[in-house]
Symmetry: C2
Subunit: 283 residues, 2 copies
């Protein structure tokens, strides 16, 4: 369940940079759903450089659950390619710190954990295509019900890299049969946010035994005539990181994402400062 505290009721009207400033100062430490509309939000993985090459290889080989949208310099706590003045130590509302695969702490600031060998990897999240579905008139059940999205472990093997591997976690959204083609086409436009569905229909076919008992998040109603549609999920890399039992690894807390300054529908996820970028905006 998402921990709700100091959630910014007015956040939807604030810019991404203004919200990050409130997060940095502690004025907002709640979830980020619906904040900074139109801006890319990200899953977060911070890990020692010794594992970063393998982790990037792992993400490259599993782009649907692990779409890399930003990578920091080793030891740098700034992420200039995702926005102005992003300090990854303080600009995410809530973090989880893992040691040897065990959760040791949930905190709102990781400055005390920062080290010169840490590398930040930002990964796209499903908020992006959910927003696009809703704009297209396709309702998203867990949002309608005010719940977390249901997430399930599957038997879909990931392509391994170094110590990273395992099976994919998926989210499920029930859709009417005549909405599926449109939902597929819309989500496919966002490869940086899990892209098109991984599977449609029979949960047993991908190793899910009971849709009413998700492994993470909350169950949602699947109404008569609706078909469960499964997308790759950002919990996948979190589980993979935990299973690899790294000496240290830091992620965001579920629902408490990094809000970037990159537009959700930008062709690439690399932030271009409008004041410093005249010559590459010729189109």
């Amino acid at each position: 369940m998402v921990i709700l505290s100091k959630t910014d009721q007015d956040g939807a009207s604030l810019s991404s940079e203004a919200i990050r400033r409130r997060i940095r100062t502690g004025a907002h430490d709640g979830h980020t759903a619906g904040l900074a509309a139109g801006k890319l939000q990200c899953n977060l993985a911070i890990l020692p450089e010794a594992y970063a090459l393998d982790f990037l290889r792992f993400c490259q080989r599993n782009p649907k659950p692990c779409p890399v949208v930003g990578v920091g310099d080793t030891g740098s706590h700034m992420l200039p390619t995702l926005g102005r003045d992003i300090d990854i130590r303080s600009d995410v509302p809530r973090y989880r710190v893992f040691k040897e695969g065990a959760l040791v702490e949930e905190v709102t600031d990781i400055t005390s954990h920062w080290a010169d060998d840490l590398v930040t990897v930002a990964l796209g999240c499903s908020f992006t295509f959910e927003n696009a579905l809703i704009r297209a008139g396709i309702p998203v059940r867990h949002i309608e019900m005010g719940r977390n999205v249901p997430m399930y472990r599957t038997n879909i093997d990931l392509v391994p890299a170094g110590p990273f591997g395992g099976q994919m976690v998926v989210t499920m959204r029930p859709l009417k049969a005549d909405q599926i083609d449109a939902a597929r086409a819309i989500s496919a436009k966002y490869p940086q946010a899990h892209g098109a569905p991984i599977a449609i229909g029979d949960p047993a076919a991908i190793g899910i035994s009971d849709l009413s008992a998700p492994d993470y998040g909350d169950p949602v109603d699947v109404k008569p005539g609706e078909v469960p549609v499964y997308w790759a999920c950002g919990v996948t890399p979190q589980n993979v990181l935990k299973a690899a039992k790294l000496p240290i690894c830091i992620t965001h807390a579920p629902g408490h994402m990094l809000i970037t300054d990159v537009a959700e529908d930008a062709e690439t996820t690399i932030y271009q400062d409008p004041n410093q970028n005249e010559k590459t905006n010729k189109e």
Copy 2:
């Protein structure tokens, strides 16, 4: 200029795997344009692991010139994520070997150069969107003229990472004004192959002084009423690698690409063996 020798006149009808086998045995060491229609072809960069994390960061930050489509394990000469039985030491028709930034050799096999610390990075190439343009009835001038695409250094700064940085190289294709929107939409569908144009129109705006004198490749005619359209180019990472003066770095020779088993229009560039992949094909 492309070096033409032992070019496979019948190659267009052979499967990607069959062509690689001919390349491996030395039966084909010419360019790969037009071979294995519908299959993704790749630029190649092989470099020591010590530089691989920075190079992947560089590519992530510059996805239009440097779209990563495959990364090998350190020391492994196989590339299973791009196809069946790809041995990167022998399955590219022609390689260039650089030491400290200087070209030392052009060869058809790099087995003697292989080392346990080398990492292979495969990058998308413009063949993919050119094929799509032609299928859509938009002619590509340098192909019509039987020439290499004209390529130009620009003043567009790349986002640096570690020792890698510099300015972007672009290709240019002249189009009629009423073809530009379609060409943009078509190429934007292939983010793994440089995506939408980087710039359109005035060459001086991106630092090109004379369109008739490309820095690489051949000049092409720009007819009255046509507009030059510029795409990010795979020579960019090659120049960046040369400038970084790595102890060793191996690339393909221009036009002599890695032919993969991945479909050009696949949603991701990760090869899935049809015999081993039943459960992820539920869609």
